[in-house]
Subunit: 228 residues, 2 copies
DNA sequence: TTCGGAAAATTTGAATGCAAAAATGGTCAA
DNA sequence: TTGACCATTTTTGCATTCAAATTTTCCGAA
């Protein structure tokens, strides 16, 4: 019970950048912070290593995994295939009520777009994509999708969405909903692919801008200047 | 170092059915068998749980995950998408030498088919599919593919391959190699999908035959052999 | 000063110990 | 005979402990 909690909390810390990519994950400090002993923390770190959030160096502890541009590219490529697959399967299996629910979410999202409420827009956006994946009714797919999108989200670029891209995204979502209503699996998968590719292009533009100031916090020679 | 070793060994035991699906994984016994203490074993079990090989019940230990027919279906569906994606990406990125290597593997595989050497045929088969995934040059994709195929392999049905299916598989592999040589990503992904769907149908037929004798061995002590 | 090396301190990996929860077994009553 | 209840045993989850490896610090020599 505790161990699951620890995995969630540390994963969250990694996601939020509280532990920056490349930084060491000091067992002792985290134990104090979380108020637990090393055993459950170490178990959690092993799990997070299996999930790809940290890398374990033998006898040298854990480091928060770094997300290179290539890593992000890889994640997006896989995410694209997973979403496309979800779209196809969803069209085979989704119930009318579920489509209606997504339709409601869609209209809500458009409203947030019109009022330029980005956080709420993102919320609906995620719920829609998640609903499509859920409608695919495939636990493995859902699990991998969760893992991949979470890792992508970790590379959170706070770049504002360009208006033209936002408008395009909304248009694509119209097409997504339409294909879903028509149960056009092939069409839906194509739209989802294009949609994600556009998002990826936007993220990559933001990412390149961001990468000018690397957050290297790993092997810095911290010379304590006679502090005691 | 020890912990990695333990993960591998226990995963192997689960793969091989030494610990049958649904059976309890007794910490103490495994510690004695492996000659280690509970700490590294427990860490390994957490990792295997994250990988989907075991399920952890709070205060009730670990059980080897059961593979239902639905689980296998889910795994095959995802595997299909991953292979298709790998095929598309591989055609974009693969070097000529790599294609030649796969071509060599292919011819070797055909020879094993002609001499009806099933184990060697399977070996080449796997190497070819693995080579295509590697050629996609996507670490995330490779990792997920590894995970999914390993889990599928766990549901090993020792059913002999029907000659007609075997012949079809070889023909499909001709087409796979051909598409790869032509760098026809779309074509390759379609062939890979069809190829895997055929395999899945074969496995499902074998699976249904097998499922007549349920392998429920969960609340029983794991008595091996004594096959006289 | 700067470099090299050895001792001290910190940190990691694994074993053991301890309290709590669950499984087991046995007794008694209906 | 069956079923319920309680004590015993086993197992699990986490904390603590111990040895080994690594990092840091200190000191002397070039």
């Amino acid at each position: 019970m505790l161990h699951e909690e620890v995995v969630s909390r540390v994963r969250y810390m990694l996601m939020e950048g509280e532990i920056p990519p490349g930084a060491r994950v000091p067992e002792r400090d985290l134990c104090l912070t979380l108020g637990i002993s090393r055993t459950p923390l170490r178990e959690a770190l092993k799990v997070l290593a299996a999930e790809g959030y940290v890398v374990l160096l033998p006898n040298r502890g854990a480091r928060a995994a770094k997300l290179t541009q290539k890593d992000i590219q890889d994640l997006f490529e896989v995410c694209e295939s997973l979403e496309a697959a979800a779209g196809e399967l969803a069209c085979l299996r989704i119930a009318d009520e579920k489509v209606d629910q997504i339709s409601v979410l869609h209209r809500e999202m458009v409203k947030h777009y019109q009022s330029r409420d980005l956080p709420q827009y993102y919320r609906c956006n995620r719920l829609i994509h998640q609903a499509i994946v859920d409608a695919a009714d495939n636990a493995v797919l859902a699990s991998l999708y969760e893992s991949v999108t979470t890792r992508i989200r970790r590379a959170r670029f706070v770049a504002p969405m360009p208006p033209s891209h936002w408008e395009l995204a909304v248009h694509e979502h119209e097409a997504i909903l339409n294909a879903l209503q028509r149960r056009d699996g092939t069409g839906l998968s194509h739209i989802l692919r294009r949609h994600l590719r556009h998002k990826r292009e936007a993220v990559e533009r933001a990412g390149f801008a961001e990468s000018s100031q690397p957050v290297e916090q790993q092997a810095k020679p911290t010379r304590r200047a006679a502090a005691g």
